[in-house]
């Protein structure tokens, strides 16, 4: 239907042409045209010029002036088509005509616009991302560096030579070979794109790290690369962070190996455990991922510790508190070790617990040393007790041997007596009773000796009657005191007062105090020692007082210091009061010299009930 314009019919031959075509008179009256023209100019009447956009008409010159040469121009038709219009004067038949061609460039133009927009967008992105770009002409080694590229290196774009040298002379010598290698690999088609990280000397002298990426962007018809374009990104900051991370990781490795500490992390939300390699070393495993952490832990920790430790761990996670546990493990190599583990909660900005960072130490040797120190302490306690008993031994031997002499004599007499003609049953009774009661007396002394002399280092604490604690000590010293004419009085109020203690140790402390008192009274005119036991402030209070006139003020401060003694050489080690204090403090009690007493008085306070456990 468009083939008909006021009776004019499109030339069927011309219809074969892809472009729109028309032949007009110089004033634009259509002579011939094809149907393509009608597609571009649907509103066409009999005059073509009248149907053309004004911007193109301006190029044709004044209306009526003859067209002397071919005029071309692009324009947008009212129909929306972008066209390249070409008007050529035709004069072959003598009468001047104009030949018109209209090439539809709508698609091409759109493509161009799109390309432009893309380039603009890229430029925007490059600039925004701090990317510099380069465009390398492989045929002459000219490189066009963009302003950002120059700026990145501290160069002025206007004065920067656009040559490959500009880049090459600035690349770090250690990185250059590798960079060219990567370039070559891409040019030779071995890589899909070029990528290299290298250092470049900034104009201010420092080295900056560059991520360099590029691609062949143009080849000649034979496929030979012509252009190589790419971008530069300054990744110094990342590189620095990476180095920092690396060095802090190295530091961590170093620290963990020096301090024999294992580092772990528990992600609370993910419920995921991570181990630093140091943890594997601690447990004697290799960090090769062949075994799960939970499995390693289960294998290493004994079943009776695994459950309580795990429970405690989850409780701490739940409560957001610090986790501290100590447990024995058996390493993969079979070694028995003791592990101390501490975990610290880390929170996010809102205070919500995020993870627990943990440290594990192998404290085997430390614990062994502590045990050794404790053993030695116990041994010295025991040794000192033995020394005290040794000093008492004379009295004790005397006290045992005298009744023994009674027993042997009475037994011998009994033997003689019953062989008489008329033995008197009453006399026999007297003899046997003496033997029996005297033997029992020896038994009591021996028991007290045994109680005080055996190694009690593994005895446990127990609630014990104060009377029982004093009994052995009093029994041991009584003969010695009697021989020295010292009067010993014991008063316990209330009589059934008990205390939570390791009885042998308290007996020892009392024995030491009694021993000191006895030594102090050797030359005294008045000789008595009193033990008063009472209750006050939830403590059992033992007061040991002797008839002495007190301790000189200048000695009071040093009383409890080990090896302090005023006794002659060989009479005492000076450890007695130090050991008393050690024992009292171990029991959660105290011992002091009572200054305001008119006589020499020591006061020891000991808890009646076990000290309450914290957090249980």
């Amino acid at each position: 239907m468009h083939s008909n314009v006021r009776g004019l019919v499109a030339d069927p031959l011309l219809n074969l042409l892809d472009e729109a075509f028309a032949e007009t008179t110089t004033d634009g009256t259509l002579l011939r045209f094809n149907s393509r023209l009608l597609q571009l100019l649907p509103d066409l009447r009999s005059n073509l010029i009248e149907a053309l956009p004004r911007d193109f008409l301006a190029r044709l010159g004044k209306p009526g002036s003859p067209l002397r040469e071919t005029i071309t121009g692009e324009s947008t038709l009212p129909s929306g088509f972008d066209v390249r219009i070409s008007a050529t004067p035709l004069s072959d038949s003598g009468e001047l005509r104009i030949g018109w061609t209209f090439r539809d460039i709508t698609a091409a133009r759109r493509q161009e616009d799109e390309l432009r927009r893309q380039v603009e967008k890229l430029e925007f992105v490059l600039e925004g991302a701090g990317l510099g770009s380069w465009d390398w002409n492989l045929t002459n080694n000219e490189v066009s560096f963009d302003p950002l590229w120059c700026e990145m290196l501290g160069l002025d774009h206007r004065t920067t030579p656009m040559r490959l040298d500009t880049w090459e002379v600035r690349v770090h010598p250690d990185d250059k070979a590798r960079a060219y290698e990567d370039v070559g690999a891409h040019i030779e088609g071995r890589t899909r794109q070029y990528e290299n990280v290298h250092r470049i000397r900034h104009a201010d002298g420092r080295w900056i790290w560059i991520l360099d990426k590029g691609k062949i962007t143009e080849r000649d018809p034979s496929g030979k690369p012509m252009r190589f374009s790419g971008i530069h990104l300054d990744i110094s900051a990342q590189k620095l962070a990476e180095e920092e991370l690396h060095s802090s990781r190295e530091l961590l490795d170093l620290a963990t190996s020096i301090f024999q500490v294992g580092v772990w992390e528990w992600n609370i939300e993910a419920r995921a455990l991570r181990w630093h390699s140091s943890m594997f070393q601690l447990f004697g495993f290799t960090d090769d991922g062949s075994e799960g952490l939970a499995d390693i832990f289960r294998k290493s920790v004994s079943p009776q510790h695994l459950e309580p430790v795990s429970r405690q761990f989850y409780q701490c996670i739940e409560a957001g508190t610090t986790f501290v546990a100590e447990y024995p493990i058996i390493r993969k190599d079979g070694a028995h070790r003791t592990i101390l583990s501490k975990g610290f909660i880390q929170r996010d900005a809102t205070g919500k617990p995020q993870r627990m960072i943990g440290l594990n130490w192998d404290v085997t040797e430390e614990r062994q040393r502590q045990q050794q120190v404790e053993d030695e302490r116990m041994m010295s306690l025991h040794a000192s007790r033995m020394a005290t008993l040794g000093e008492m031994a004379g009295g004790i031997a005397h006290e045992i041997n005298s009744p023994l002499a009674v027993i042997t004599m009475r037994a011998s007499q009994l033997r003689d007596y019953i062989s008489r003609k008329t033995p008197d049953p009453a006399t026999i009774g007297l003899l046997t009773e003496t033997i029996e009661s005297t033997a029992l007396r020896i038994g009591r002394i021996v028991l007290a000796m045994k109680n005080l002399s055996r190694d009690s280092s593994h005895d446990s604490m127990a609630t014990t009657l104060a009377a029982d604690v004093l009994h052995d000590a009093a029994l041991i010293v009584q003969e010695r005191f009697r021989l020295n004419s010292i009067d010993l009085q014991v008063r316990i109020e209330p009589q059934d007062l008990s205390l939570y203690c390791q009885p042998t140790e308290i007996s020892q402390a009392i024995l030491n105090l009694l021993q000191n008192a006895r030594d102090a009274l050797e030359e005294a005119a008045e000789k008595w020692i009193r033990i008063d036991v009472s209750e006050g402030d939830g403590m059992a209070i033992f007061e040991v007082t002797d008839s002495g006139a007190g301790i000189p003020r200048e000695h009071q401060e040093q009383l409890f210091r080990p090896f302090f003694t005023t006794k002659p050489r060989g009479r005492g080690t000076g450890l007695g009061l130090g050991i008393c204090r050690q024992i009292a403090e171990k029991h959660g009690g105290s011992i002091e010299y009572v200054q305001d007493s008119t006589h020499t008085q020591f006061r020891m306070r000991l808890p009646i009930v076990p000290p309450r456990m914290v957090n249980t």
């Binding site: 031994a393 004379g394 009295g395 031997a397 005397h398 006290e399 045992i400 041997n401 005298s402 009744p403 023994l404 002499a405 009674v406 027993i407 042997t408 004599m409 009475r410 011998s412 007499q413 003496t434 005297t438 009697r482 021989l483 020295n484 004419s485």
Partner: protein, 248 residues
């Protein structure tokens, strides 16, 4: 020492702070018709000695309150009253047999002791020395060793031989290798004088590194020849010597 009259019953003072032991000892000596006195410590014993005056034997503990046995012995040996025999009965003390004899104790028993030996010792002590040493004692176990020595002095210190009132010290230079309880046939010569009799080794001493005391043995007389008894008691008057056997 001692040597009370034969006309009266012998007397004994038992000193011990252990009443049960005093009773047991008293029981025995009362049965043997002794006059028995008891004291609970040395001071009490001195009072009784002063009051009674003619105690033949004192049996005393060493460690006692108020006054111990060693102090009592000193008191007895320094006192004017007739000297009783002193027997130590000790349960435990620093005092050794050697020292006890040197201080003048005539016998020394550790508790517990053999009752028969104690009674024999007391019975012997209540006899006057001439009676005590007259009868040749029956040989004990083992053969007696012959000890013949020529000495320069009978009563000087560091002379290798020294008399006490019940025996003598003999250095190992003069008679090496003597051991405790060994019985000896003794002949000690000093110029023209000779002491002959039977003795028993009470203690033997090898020199300790820190001791200035010479090696040797303490020997007590069991019996003496009449001639020797006369020399010892009449000419040398050994009863006035404080040590039973000197330390050296």
């Amino acid at each position: 020492m001692s040597g009370g009259q034969h006309t009266r019953a012998p007397s004994i003072l038992v000193v011990d702070d252990e009443p049960a032991l005093r009773s047991a000892l008293a029981f025995d000596f009362e049965l043997r018709d002794f006059r028995v006195f008891e004291a609970e410590h040395g001071k009490h014993a001195m009072e009784i000695l002063e009051k009674v005056g003619d105690i033949d034997v004192v049996l005393t503990d060493v460690l006692m309150p108020v006054m111990g046995g060693v102090e009592l012995l000193e008191g007895i040996r320094s006192a004017k009253f007739e000297q009783p025999g002193v027997v130590f009965l000790t349960g435990y003390s620093e005092l050794t047999l050697e020292v006890a004899h040197d201080r003048g104790a005539d016998a020394f028993f550790g508790k517990p002791f053999d009752r028969d030996t104690l009674i024999r010792t007391v019975d012997r002590l209540v006899l006057p020395p001439r009676e005590r040493w007259k009868s040749p004692s029956p040989p004990g176990a083992g053969a007696r060793r012959l000890v013949h020595a020529k000495v320069d002095s009978f009563a000087s210190e560091n002379a290798g031989f020294r008399l006490g009132h019940g025996g003598f010290f003999l250095s190992s230079d003069l008679a090496p290798g003597l051991h405790v309880r060994q019985e000896l046939e003794i002949r000690i010569e000093l110029d023209s004088l000779a002491l002959e009799g039977v003795g028993r080794v009470v203690w033997s001493r090898t020199p300790a590194k820190n001791s200035e005391l010479p090696a040797g043995a303490g020997v007590e007389w069991l019996s003496l020849s009449d001639r020797s008894m006369k020399v010892l008691l009449d000419e040398l008057d050994i009863e006035r010597l404080r040590p039973y056997i000197p330390l050296a």
